[in-house]
């Protein structure tokens, strides 16, 4: 499987929001805890809808959650 170039700051954001657990985040966005773990580890890029849901949970723009390098 081709690795994604998308990185994320979910782990940092969770800790900045009262040490939110992966299970709490999973429940709020309607996915399993394993899916949150896979997203954090960059093993799964969620749908745009789930990505926005994560950003809404933390109250930040999408760019603050997911980053993509501008050039090679």
């Amino acid at each position: 499987m081709k690795p994604t170039r998308v990185t994320n700051s979910i782990r940092t954001l969770r800790f900045a929001h009262g040490e939110m657990t992966q299970a709490d985040l999973a429940e709020r966005i309607g996915v399993t805890r394993q899916t949150v773990i896979a997203i954090e580890q960059g093993k799964y890029s969620p749908s745009l809808e789930v990505a926005f849901q994560i950003a809404h949970v933390f109250g930040v723009p999408l760019d603050d959650v997911f980053q993509y390098p501008a050039s090679e």
């Binding site: 499987m1 081709k2 690795p3 994604t4 998308v6 999973a26 429940e27 309607g30 996915v31 399993t32 805890r33 394993q34 899916t35 896979a38 960059g42 093993k43 799964y44 890029s45 969620p46 749908s47 789930v50």
Partner: protein, 142 residues
């Protein structure tokens, strides 16, 4: 481990065990005689029925004690399942086409049935392996 990944493992293991058992029984019954003379039908059906039953029982057993939030398939599970099913489906079609070709050539029913059964097995094995790879190695939609 995600619940849907456990289900893929169960399908893979049960399918391999059931098919291996079927092959062993048929080869023992053949014992030197041509395979087309072996009474294979009841064994084939039994291996399929037992595999389905084992899948259901093991699925229920692994679901017990799992919270509903973890048991229910989410977006990632559905995407991985779709790719796995598509991979497996191709072997199902190949098995059906080869079986159809053999029937048209008036091949013995033993070969027709066994090619179709092998198609089922390869479909389940490849489909499950693809799903497990999706969970283990990563799965990207972007």
């Amino acid at each position: 481990m995600a619940h849907q990944e456990k289900r893929a493992w169960i399908m893979l293991v049960v399918t391999v065990v059931a098919y291996t058992a079927y092959i062993v029984v048929v080869l023992r019954r053949a014992n030197g005689t041509p395979l087309t003379e072996v009474a294979y039908a009841a064994v084939l059906i039994a291996s399929i029925v037992l595999a389905i039953a084992a899948n259901i029982v093991l699925d229920i057993a692994t679901s017990l004690g799992t919270p509903r939030s973890e048991y229910k398939a989410d977006a990632r599970d559905k995407e991985i399942a779709r790719i796995g099913d598509l991979t497996g489906q191709s072997f199902l079609v190949i098995g059906a086409l080869v079986g159809m070709g053999l029937a048209m050539l008036d091949a013995d029913s033993f070969w027709v049935a066994n090619v179709i059964y092998l198609g089922f097995v390869l479909s389940a094995v490849l489909g499950s392996a693809t799903k497990i790879a999706g969970y283990r190695g990563g799965f990207q939609t972007w």
